[in-house]
């Protein structure tokens, strides 16, 4: 009995751990699609062409940028360009750490998905705050 008990509870723990994997994998896949299809354009325009001054002067002025971001389409944009890619990155980093035998997976998992969720809420919260201003 005593020998069996730990192994039974361990088995249950593994079952519980595997139960939430489809959620993380779904977010990872959706984020992967966003990373591949939208991020090249997002990075090219916002992080390369804008700072190099290659966009028309008013294209992303303060007024234009606020108007575009603090709206319902802006909220959807943040979901696709920040939240889902964050969960994609969290999944890859978690498994990368496992591949390199760094830390332990139970903790890595909580830290990675926790940070992705926290930053996602922050980003969506900022859009809502901007809409209410």
């Amino acid at each position: 009995m005593n020998v069996n008990k730990p192994s039974v509870s361990q088995h249950d723990a593994h079952r519980r751990q595997a139960y939430d994997e489809p959620l993380w994998w779904g977010l990872f896949s959706a984020g992967g699609v966003c990373f591949a299809v939208i991020m090249p354009a997002v990075i090219l325009f916002i992080a390369v062409l804008l700072p190099l001054g290659l966009l028309p002067a008013e294209a992303l002025s303060y007024e234009r940028a606020s108007g575009l971001l603090f709206s319902i389409p802006g909220l959807l944009f943040i979901g696709a360009a920040v939240c889902l890619p964050l969960f994609h990155a969290a999944h890859r980093l978690r498994h990368g750490l496992f591949d390199l035998s760094l830390g332990n997976d139970t903790l890595n998992k909580k830290v990675m998905y926790g940070l992705a969720a926290l930053l996602s809420l922050l980003a969506l919260g900022m859009v809502v705050a901007g809409m209410l201003n």
């Binding site: 090249p40 354009a41 966009l55």
Partner: protein
């Protein structure tokens, strides 16, 4: 294979992936998210500056133009394209498409996804290409 099974096998050395080109490529693909995370953090900083006001926003645009920031974001752009190239070829393997009983060639599915990248880029050009 789930992680509980792996833990019962003899542990791998941390450098296992350096032994074969295929594994190195796999690790490079895993690492594409590092510059992506950098870009997303930049984007979050930009959102904060946009909430703070016009001066702060101009400061953020200047920050994005700093050579090291620009370089890391160029790396993120390359990483996104590399990720796309490796990701698009998986689609026809995971979900082969059939139209009217004929299976769509793999190249057509891959080309269709690149067309998607182009459409998004054109949408951005339409949004930001004019004042």
């Amino acid at each position: 294979m789930d992680k509980s099974t792996l833990q019962r096998l003899p542990p791998l050395k941390r450098t296992w992936w350096l032994k074969h080109r295929f594994f190195k490529l796999y690790m490079v693909r895993e690492a594409t998210v590092l510059p992506l995370v950098f870009f997303i953090l930049c984007l979050l900083a930009g959102m904060i500056s946009l909430l703070q006001g016009p001066d702060s926003w101009q400061g953020w645009v200047a920050f994005m133009g700093a050579p090291i920031v620009l370089l890391l974001n160029l790396l993120a752009l390359i990483a996104s394209l590399f990720h796309a190239a490796t990701f698009f070829v998986l689609f026809p393997r995971v979900m082969p498409l059939r139209i009217a009983g004929r299976s769509l060639p793999d190249q057509a599915i891959v080309a269709g996804q690149w067309a998607g990248v182009l459409v998004v880029a054109l949408l951005f050009l339409w949004l930001f290409g004019r004042a």
